[in-house]
């Protein structure tokens, strides 16, 4: 990567470039990728006056240290990290300006698993692949050479001017390492009986250490299947809860494959997926069954919440 941008001193645990995903190519087997918590991604972009499609950095559990080689406006939303500029703390959920040569450092993480660092001036400028800058790690596509950031990378960004500071409260993060997620029954319900549903909706499932952006392996009682045969492989979406023969469910997340042949007991509703994205391995998920009507109402409520925060961010600029 040549030219100026954000020079990565320490990459953090898993820092990737993500936009809203590589839609429109799943027929060629190209996975969508995109943010694990789209709410915080969109809000961070809004705070730096980007379009929602702009690419930002998704930061996982341990944050990076980077040097701005050009003056830029930044904002961090999502997981609550200590963030500093040249050792001076800056809060999350706020736009701030960084001068050339200043060091942005992520420190201790308090709540949430993933933060989004949005960059003014249109976001991260890595070359789009099939119309998207989203990094898909398994197919090594998008972002910086299809991989997580490494020390020494220079992530290309445009210069952006200093603007009045705007702030937003941000997503209400899961507390105490657990979240309740609402589930719509799957398209393959006849594979599962009442006993499987009872198990799914009465127990806390622990997110296994063998979880990643593709999916969360869930540790708990196995979900019994009424039919042992595998269904014919069919297209799937983020939020699907698939159940392999051994009964350990897998919640499919941003880097999911385009299709799969395990039966799905249900789908986590879109409104709650941002909460799932804020959970880390070792934390817990509880599931509640819901109806389509409730799913739509929850999504509208979530969207209203985001819009309200975006509007009040603008109002805070007008006041300052």
């Amino acid at each position: 990567m040549t030219g100026a941008g954000l020079r990565i001193v320490k990459p953090g645990l898993l820092t990737t470039v993500q936009d809203l995903g590589r839609w429109g190519h799943q027929l060629d087997g190209v996975p969508v990728a995109g943010p694990m918590d789209v709410f915080s991604h969109r809000l961070a972009n809004h705070l730096v006056e980007n379009e929602p499609e702009a690419a930002a950095l998704e930061i996982t559990l341990i944050g990076p240290e980077l040097i701005a080689e050009v003056p830029v406006t930044l904002a961090v939303c999502g997981a609550d990290f200590d963030v500093s500029i040249d050792s001076n703390p800056v809060p999350t959920g706020i736009s701030f300006h960084v001068r050339r040569g200043q060091v942005v450092r992520f420190g201790k993480r308090h709540t949430g698993a993933r933060a989004y660092l949005a960059v003014g001036g249109g976001g991260i400028q890595t070359p789009p692949v099939l119309g998207s800058r989203a990094t898909h790690l398994v197919s090594a596509m998008g972002g910086v050479s299809g991989r997580a950031l490494a020390a020494g990378d220079v992530v290309p960004v445009n210069e952006s001017p200093a603007r009045p500071t705007v702030r937003a409260r941000g997503l209400t993060l899961p507390t105490a390492g657990r979240a309740r997620l609402r589930v719509l029954p799957g398209s393959q319900e006849r594979w599962f009986g009442d006993d499987a549903w009872r198990a799914l909706t009465t127990v806390s499932f622990r997110i296994s250490p063998r979880s990643n952006r593709m999916g969360y392996r869930l540790q708990g009682p196995p979900l019994p299947r009424q039919i042992t045969d595998e269904p014919i492989s069919e297209p799937l979406a983020m939020g699907a809860i698939q159940v392999p023969a051994a009964g350990e469910p897998i919640l499919l997340m941003a880097d999911r494959q385009t299709a799969g042949g395990y039966p799905k007991i249900g789908y986590v509703i879109t409104a709650d997926l941002c909460l799932a994205g804020q959970l880390a391995p070792g934390e817990f998920i509880e599931f509640d069954r819901c109806t389509e009507r409730e799913a739509v109402a929850a999504l509208i409520a979530r969207e209203r919440e985001l819009m309200a925060q975006m509007l009040s961010a603008r109002a805070s600029e007008a006041r300052s």
Binding site: W23, G24, H25, Q26, L27, D28, G29, V30, P31, V32, V129, L130, V138, S139, A140, M141, L184, G186, S187, P231, I232, S233, E234, P235, L236, A237, M238, G239, A240, Q257, T258, A259, K264, G266, Y267, V268, I269, T270, E292, A295, V296, L299, I300, E303
Partner: protein, 214 residues
């Protein structure tokens, strides 16, 4: 035709729960028809073996209009009884040796010589049913029953790009280096997937593939 929601962002249209060229042709053609309609909110149209997936943005999609379009297009496709002439793509393959480390194994499974395995594999025209697993990976069927060897018990950590494998009655070509459990019988030097190319994928659902020994 069975239309159902999978979660709140995916509509699945299933013609018949079967791996069958005619069923798959309906899936593929319904995909073309819906893509051509450019319905607002629809962000991806994805053929599977027997199911078409229509991914939509629930805040920007008129679900009733989408279901109506699916109904109208789907019903006309249910009357298809013959397959149209497909695009034929030839894939040159170096069978056996280092390129196909499991050729002997498949021959043992089939109780024939490696040459006969090659004749059977290359003597069959395959339909591309769908793509998945990794970008550009096409699921091809059907492999003649005699050589339909099951997956390896222990998958390989790394299968080189271009490897041609068998898994039961499916065959396919690994487009990129990836882990994989299919029985590898040969390798091609064709680039199956290149995101800088248009179209990026050499194969599309509905194509016919012929393997040519080199």
């Amino acid at each position: 035709m069975n239309v159902r929601l999978a979660g709140d962002t995916l509509l699945l249209v299933e013609f018949e729960p079967a791996i069958d060229p005619l069923v798959n042709e309906r899936v593929v053609e319904l995909g073309h028809a819906l893509r051509a309609r450019q319905l607002p909110g629809v962000r991806d149209v994805v053929p599977g073996y027997a199911t078409l997936g229509v991914h939509f943005d629930p805040l920007r999609t008129d679900l009733l209009a989408l279901e109506r379009a699916v109904g109208v297009e789907g019903r006309t496709l249910e009357t298809i009884t013959t397959l149209p002439e497909a695009r034929v793509i030839e894939i040159p393959v170096q069978y056996g040796g280092q390129d196909g480390p499991d050729l002997e194994e498949v021959a043992r499974f089939a109780g024939c010589s490696p040459h006969e395995v090659i004749d059977l594999h290359a003597g069959t025209a395959y339909r591309v049913y769908m793509l998945g697993f990794v970008p550009g990976f096409a699921y091809l069927g059907r492999v003649p029953a005699a050589i339909a060897a099951p997956r390896r018990r222990v998958p390989r950590d790394r299968v080189p790009a271009g490897s041609v494998g068998i898994a039961g009655q499916q065959t396919g070509i690994y487009p990129i280096d990836s882990p994989g459990g299919w029985q590898l019988i040969g390798r091609t030097d064709r680039t199956m997937f290149d995101p800088s190319r248009d179209p990026a994928s050499l194969l599309s659902a509905g194509d016919t593939v012929r393997f040519v020994p080199v």
